[in-house]
Symmetry: C2
Subunit: 407 residues, 2 copies
């Protein structure tokens, strides 16, 4: 077995369960008597590692590591940072200096790109390393895996909220008869589509769902809303922040600039549609924009998702100790009912920067809802609730002491 | 005892626990062997009663009435409708025709105004009636009661969300370093202030809270945000939708018109502040606008609140059967720790159209946070969680069959 230390770091937007993966890494490493070194945490992802912000995670209280299983946010902090070639080289120097031979990177597409490049840089520098990516994203848009940890909990929260706000909408008979919920999802509509899980009855919310996968046409949208409104007296619309027009341009995109990876900063689609409905149809509308609550609502986490996030971290350690490298842990579905998965793997080179979208045949012909295929896929992922300690009426989430065990 | 039937109806914006009060009314009435008649439900509040949309609630399945204890929205539908003098007279005719002698109206300020006028109209028409108001509002702005059912659950949801999105904010080190949460509350800041319950550590969210009770000054706000940002590297702001400037005018008020009661339709404060911060301080910001989720998030309801909502309905029936009328049920706090309340009453004439605001000495001198007095007041109201049946990973809320038992 390759002797040396390990480091785990988090990258990109947090999820309700990203910390559960870190717990999986740390607990699996520390409970393995053959583990060949220490387990470090890089503070603020790759950026912090470059700056030498590293802690020994064995120094944390055991209750804190265990508490990561139900605590949202990125417990050892995250970053969005595109690593330059020069930084890649410096990174390998840091690894050499601290004798780090195992690198676990917990993130989405961009982070898998970073992990891939780090692995390549290590190979080029002749520094033998095991580099394993641990998938994480509420967007569920990583390819070569059935689904991503983080999605199931966000989906459960969206579906719960749509059911509740849908009941609210139908029960007030005299105003604000259209509710719009804007959901996350830049180019892939998985989280937006998850709203469909809320529907039990034909007339229950949501009534219309608009995804980035199919072009958004204003006139069609207004006709759709008017039709539902005339039929029921109210209408619940769920829309992805990333809907695009027939030319593939983002609709109502705010002049919010672009991030480090060149992605457009989106916002305001829901409010724009509310204004559109009020102006064109003269129906009072409301817009709920849950924002970062979608990726942090651990109080509404899916137990299936939380357990799988832990399992992804555990599997990453097992793969690395077995000598594997340059891979991302994946989930392979064996069956929908009963729901069964097994762990798999894919090359980081495969997954980096590829976005998995909803299959077009899971979207109805009208382009305003999803099919039963999507429901069958998504429903198992939102099952079960997570028990967490409550204090003073609120979830008592833990905090990693970032000054403890500082290298 | 006055012989005749009873009717219960709901009015105004729903809450997570408004149905628990209806369950309290119905279960208390039906379990009393001396109850002098049937218990009806008016569909869509006073508006539905005028239209003769009335059902016999004893016809509902028992499991449905029991399920109201944890189901959000207005189970027998609600309305916002200012009753005219002519409608008041017609209402008494409906009551005469159906021999309704007991009227329970579950709502906020406007609804208590309606209940008061109905009581007066009955007196004028010489139709002996017991009219009891059951308080309900997430805004917590009814006077002459320590607090209102609905507030505790909304407060728990806001505080939970602020804790979770606050952890999210602090854990991503490279972008969107200001999060703004826009909370409900037209003229009273109770729900906005409840965000303060989330804070455990000095540097934890929320950092700044702006309420309608004190004037909002842009320059001061920007200086506040900049100060926190320079100190911590991030800043979490909670703002009421109803903040006003030094002249008492709503800030950034949308041209959304006014409702039936003449209240301005507010929206967009959070987004306006996000734009302001980005323009003036060049710090990337995000805005979360939870909207109607604040008043319907029953999955995060407070058990204390849910139980008290039931108790308010139960007490209303007891008062009425004891011969009382023209009253609203109130809560009188006996002690904060241990938390103890007793039920009280106040004249509907007192409470109608009066708004209770946060005492100014519960707001800090800077006008950007609340004091420990507020925390002591609010904390007992968010205690405990409500267990509800789950199905397919989501809360399995009930639906009253509005066609069943139709009169």
């Amino acid at each position: 077995m390759l002797q040396g230390n390990a480091i785990v770091a988090q990258s990109g937007g947090p999820t309700a369960v990203i910390n559960s993966s870190v717990a999986g890494v740390v607990e699996t490493w520390l409970s393995n008597p053959d583990a060949p070194g220490n387990i470090y945490g890089g503070i603020s992802g790759i950026k912090g590692i470059l700056e030498g912000k590293i802690i020994d995670l064995a120094e944390q209280k055991r209750s804190v590591i265990e508490g990561l299983r139900y605590t949202p946010g990125a417990g050892i902090f995250s970053c969005r940072h595109k690593v330059t070639a020069a930084e890649q080289e410096r990174l390998i120097e840091v690894f050499r200096k601290l004798n780090i031979r195992y690198f676990f990177y917990n993130g989405g597409n961009d982070s898998m790109d970073t992990a891939y490049k780090t692995w390549q840089a290590a190979l080029a520098a002749d520094w033998e390393m095991r580099v394993i990516g641990i998938p994480k994203t509420v967007d569920n848009d990583l390819a070569f895996t059935d689904h991503c940890p983080g999605f199931g909990s966000a989906a459960k929260y969206i579906a719960t909220t749509v059911r509740e706000t849908g009941i609210d909408l139908e029960s007030v008979s005299t105003k604000n008869k259209v509710t719009i919920l804007e959901a996350m999802g830049r180019n892939a509509g998985w989280l937006t589509a998850a709203a469909a899980l809320a529907k039990r009855y034909e007339d229950e919310a949501p009534h219309l769902i608009y995804l980035p996968e199919t072009p958004f046409i204003k006139e069609k949208f207004l006709a759709d809303v008017e039709k539902v409104y005339k039929q029921l007296g109210y209408c619940y619309v769920v829309v992805s922040e990333g809907i695009t027009d027939e030319n593939g341009e983002y609709c109502f995109a705010a002049a919010g600039g672009r991030d480090d990876f060149g992605h457009a900063q989106l916002s305001g689609v829901g409010v724009a549609l509310k204004d559109l409905i009020e102006a064109e149809l003269s129906i009072k509308a409301r817009c709920n924009t849950l924002g970062t609550a979608q990726r942090s609502a651990a109080h509404c986490a899916s137990k299936t998702d939380t357990d799988e996030a832990f399992l992804a971290g555990k599997t990453a350690v097992e793969y690395a100790l077995a000598g594997k490298s340059g891979l991302m842990v994946t989930f392979e579905r064996q069956s929908d009912e009963p729901y069964q998965i097994r762990m798999g793997q894919t090359s980081l080179a495969n997954v980096a920067n590829v976005e998995k979208k909803i299959p077009l045949d899971w979207i109805n012909a009208e382009g305003n809802y999803v099919t039963e295929d999507f429901i069958r896929y998504a429903r198992p992922l939102i099952q079960g609730e997570v028990q967490m300690p409550m204090k003073d009426g609120l979830p008592d989430y833990v905090r990693i002491d970032l000054n403890r065990g500082r290298l």
